[in-house]
Symmetry: C2
Subunit: 460 residues, 2 copies
Amino acid sequence: MEFFFKPRGIALVGASSNPNKGGNSILTNLVRGFKGPIYPVNPRYDEIGGLACYPSVLDVPDPVDLAIVFVGAEMTLKAVRECAQRGLRGVMIQSAGFAESGQQGRQLQAELQAIRRDTGLRLWGPNCMGLVDGVNRQVFSFVSPSIWDEGLVPGRVSLVVQSGMLSAGFLIDIMTHGTMGISKACSIGNKVDVDECDLLQYLVEDPDTGCIGMYLESIADGRRFLDICRRCDKPIVVLKGGKSKKGAAAALSHTASIAGNRAVVSGALAQAGVIEAQGFMQLIDLSRTLAVYPEIKVKNRPPRIAVLTFSGGAGIVSSDFIERHGLELADLGAAAKNDLQEVFPEWMPVSNPVDLWPAIERKGPDVAWGRAFNAVFADPGVDAVFFHVFVGGFSGSYELSSIAKIAQAGNKPVFGWLLGKQTEAHSFMMRASEAGIPVFREIPRAVECMAAALKRKKGL
Amino acid sequence: MEFFFKPRGIALVGASSNPNKGGNSILTNLVRGFKGPIYPVNPRYDEIGGLACYPSVLDVPDPVDLAIVFVGAEMTLKAVRECAQRGLRGVMIQSAGFAESGQQGRQLQAELQAIRRDTGLRLWGPNCMGLVDGVNRQVFSFVSPSIWDEGLVPGRVSLVVQSGMLSAGFLIDIMTHGTMGISKACSIGNKVDVDECDLLQYLVEDPDTGCIGMYLESIADGRRFLDICRRCDKPIVVLKGGKSKKGAAAALSHTASIAGNRAVVSGALAQAGVIEAQGFMQLIDLSRTLAVYPEIKVKNRPPRIAVLTFSGGAGIVSSDFIERHGLELADLGAAAKNDLQEVFPEWMPVSNPVDLWPAIERKGPDVAWGRAFNAVFADPGVDAVFFHVFVGGFSGSYELSSIAKIAQAGNKPVFGWLLGKQTEAHSFMMRASEAGIPVFREIPRAVECMAAALKRKKGL
């Protein structure tokens, strides 16, 4: 599989000089990031953007082990056969019009399968968006080249997404909102050959990947998939689409997938140590949390949380969700209470959730928050910290990186909930993501992700 | 209660010229929005910011019927007694240090209660943040005056929030993110007198309020509260904090509330036609949806949804949630299918969810989306439309206001799910909110809100 991720050279069949065409976007993306030689293939051009253009993949010189094919479905077979003939090792077929599109497409896809069988050539796709790699800064995809300017943010999460449009929209959304950066995002489409198991196996062994998040409409080889999950120490989060009757029908027409029974799938995933998500943003939130905290030493009791808040109401709702998810509010020790009482007004006894507002009024936000973080980090009865921040108005100058450092050093994970003016909230999200602190916009989601990280039974 | 919302004149006891003090923020906010006379009260000044300042509320001239009190807890009793003596009708006590803060505070609060009983003076608070009115543009609160520049967005939702800090942070967050505008936001604190029932009753009759959202830690008079809810046609959404054991303990120390049993409260709310939320953002999302669609004519069968998407995967996950929430995917009629097939490639049979990507590629986004909206709006088998939009890259120039108009005219509600580059997603949220189309960042939340609006049994 390595030649899909680190090819020595890439032939692009269907390269175009028309900036409105996908074949041009792919080329632009390759030029922008790929360090090896790039060979545009299109009999209508001698060169595109200064690169020599070849009439056929058969004419492409060494070194080359991967082709990206983006031509009409009916022209794909010939191109793929020539890739085999040329001795390539893999082809990413990004064209649509195969099994997802009716009888004729199914026939074409069956012929792709035959080529794979006869030649040993590995095929990724068709009907997919390829690969975006934030760490190695490579985009093998017709995703809009604006992705480079909109911040191709590197991160520790790798995604496998059985949906083309979604993976592109998704990536630009999460990277520009400061939600998370990305290691490898793989759009797998119809899975004529390369499937979720192949990619999962590769990502399990990939040192750049800390957590694997997957959106799947079908799981081709359930037994192999669950085996890989069971043996893997890295966190794996799966969103399984097509669990309802009509959803399954839609999955059939989308990527020609047979979706499988809902309860059976969920039970099997849980047994294999996989964390299941229900929605896309939840998939991302769980994945980015587990990428930050993949190995928490769980004690033999429910994890105990200290809540630092600016709002009694938010503390109360947090308490409700902490109980609901099988976590506990920590009973603060005498040392922590004494430390905190010094910055609180006398009339306010310190308890958990720690409502910092009176201390902020009295001592200012820097002193109040600094004291609070130090006190709960030092308290042996506290396993993790959930802080609430309102940016704009009355927040301290949070030194996110130093909080993250203390958190990592003491194996005491920190999670944040954020309210605030849009511009400042966005900037805080970006900084928190960079510092490696999972911050959320909703308390229930924050506690859910906290529970997923603190109660995970694998990777110890 | 009218004098709290539309006072003829306001005395501010504890007015300050120091911009770091809450007593200055309140004054600045009053000057910025309140049209009637404002009387700062503070024996240390002759004037503040050009306004004559009075040594005591007893010296304030007519017209005046409301005082806002923001002085130390121990000085509050004297000030409130003088308000009664001066013949005022209501006092908003925004100071903290009462029943939430220990024995001495409880004693002070009991004395406030006695004043209320002896004089008939209505008391709002203490330990609260007062009132923000986005429609009449009045801020009776120590919330940072930056709220005016951060966009005091008018809307149809009124909020009652039993938490001071939260209500302020909340408002700035939701208004600057384009999530929603606000009619009246009432922060009620310790509820020594004016409570959720008084405010609910007022808001039920308030023509500026289309939907009422409440965060409550306790419900003082459950029977009266449920009675008002049952008789009310406007949608009411309630988030009840303190439902866990430790959450209830935190509620006691926060606003001295006794929280009540979780299952009992939830059952009673549901029976009275109240929609219950679990988290703050969910409270807001449900409230803003029901404010847009307060009166949907439900047919005697599950509501049928057309899904317009740019992503097969998103359509599948939507289908799963539509089934889970007791809605149905609409079977498109022949007319709608024929209309749509004209913009689709031949190989792609039109079905619901309608995956528009092939049509967008073929005809461009404007034609594809326009045709799709018209087809499903005209289809009698479609009760509501759920559209997915990716802004930035390959979206059409959505004419949100005309979509909203068709939706309202045909009593065919529209709901959106949004992915996209942060800046463009934000601008789209702002425009959608203004146009009156509920748009969400997560599919599960969108479908949940859709179900709440389409399946509501009241207000018909």
